[in-house]
Symmetry: C2
Subunit: 230 residues, 2 copies
């Protein structure tokens, strides 16, 4: 069956290494027969901040505006802003979502954090009884693909920044697995600006090879919800 | 000596629990003789996304716009946008910075992530040889003060979300300690919307008490830079 892929992409420049990584993914996955959509956040001037303007029409509690509760109501009533609704459609249709970004302060750039905050709303992406292994998106795969400015050596267990898996835990467990997604191993392009042009080309070739079998990869293991009391 | 405090605050509503926590901090610290400034990010409509507009005038490389390098140059030449320059002035003057926010997806809301991305620029906040224990802001203290939606029990070592210290590692180590700040223990208000009004009042009283001695608190320990090869 033909698969649908969404690439949520955050870089300001079409000549960047991130752009190259995104383009390789579009090319390989399209060639394999996938339908690929790209949300190019900077080009879309994607709004990052969660505000009352994300709800069209009146909000329920104007005195104490509570974002999660108000967007849940708005989602139920089809009153979320057009840009959020459009991203939610893309998520619904996707079998696989790839987040492509340069690491900014140990996590995603603010514009992509805004995508998480605004698109993954209560009701749509999770609820009291739909989370983790029982999460809303358990039929979908997801992965982080990112570049860094520093070398891999800074991100080992004894490195100054600690194990990269610790740094990625809030993203991979706290957001993606929380919503039920099957999280594939991250694709990490270490310090593309500190290496030679040949090494960069080799990194992109390795990515090209991985993309060939990406849809068949097994997800990372997280502890299933049933192991916990609450 | 009278201390200067900056509170970077991110909540949409003046009636929120976050607003109450911020107001208590302003009140107690002012009474103690501190000068307190507040950056109310939503009220300021603070721009979250890192774009070419953060540099006034021409950029050096228009073909491949590289945010860190371009903002470093702009900072050296006094060409950063007015909003960034103003926040950098506040940081320079502050002895203590408190970040007050509701936890959004295991970290700060996008608007506050945008503050980190855009204000803590290369050259101003860190450089090749100024980071961690040798960091730019080693004379300043900083702390996270935040609310959650879920109970503390989800954030224990065996809880489904893992130890809260793991979740906070990218923020406290990857951003704050990276820039040299002395990081005070976080102030965590667990699930204010799930408890009684009396319990909320008690939480704010405990905060009031802590604030009395905050400036004398010892920072958290992180491994000093000299223990690592690179
Ligand atoms: C606010 C901020 C916070 C940051 N925080 C962190 C952090 O916490 N940790 C960290 O490690 N880093 C951090 N960085 C650094 C950042 O992660 C890197 O600058 C970024 O990942 C580099 O990716 P890029 O796509 O921008 O590289 P680019 O600079 O665009 O590309 C690198 C090189 O690849 C070349 N290239 C482009 N296309 C191709 C191609 N097709 N084939 C071969 N070569 C090509 C480019 O010409 C360039 O020479 C931060 C940067 C900023 C701005
Ligand atoms: C996009 C998004 C992502 C989220 N991700 C997470 C997550 O990863 N983990 C998590 O745990 N939670 C998460 N949440 C939930 C969020 O952290 C909580 O909703 C938030 O922390 C609650 O704080 P608040 O200030 O908004 O509370 P409010 O709802 O404003 O306040 C709670 C109660 O306190 C009352 N109050 C206000 N002032 C006072 C006062 N002076 N004295 C006594 N009572 C007062 C209010 O009236 C209200 O009844 C997320 C929410 C959103 C929108
Ligand atoms: Zn190195
Ligand atoms: Zn509970």
């Amino acid at each position: 069956m033909a698969k649908k892929v969404l690439i949520v992409y955050a870089h300001q420049s079409v000549a960047s290494f991130n752009a190259a990584a995104k383009n390789v993914a579009v090319e390989v996955l399209s060639t394999k027969g996938c339908t690929v959509e790209v949300s190019d956040l900077y080009a879309m001037k994607f709004q990052a901040s969660a505000t009352v303007e994300d709800i069209t029409g009146d909000v329920k509690d104007t005195e104490n505006f509570r974002y999660a509760e108000e967007t849940k109501l708005a989602w139920e009533e089809g009153k979320l802003s057009a840009d959020i609704t459009e991203e939610q459609r893309k998520v619904n249709e996707a079998d696989l979502i790839i987040f492509q970004f340069p690491m900014y302060w140990s996590t995603v750039p603010a514009i992509m954090k805004g995508w998480f905050d605004r698109v993954l709303t209560l009701g749509f992406a999770y609820s009291q009884d739909k989370m983790y292994s029982n999460g809303m998106f358990k039929g979908k795969k997801v992965m982080l693909s990112f570049t860094t400015g520093c070398h891999e050596s800074m991100f080992t267990e004894n490195g100054i920044s600690g194990d990269i898996n610790v740094t990625l835990w809030p993203l991979q467990n706290g957001i993606l697995y929380y919503c039920g997604f099957q999280v594939l191993a991250p694709q990490i392009f270490w310090a593309p600006s500190l290496i030679s042009s040949e090494e960069r080309k080799a990194m992109l070739e390795a990515w090209r090879t991985r993309l060939q079998g990406l849809l068949e990869e097994e997800p990372l293991g997280f502890t299933p919800l049933d192991c916990f009391d609450e």
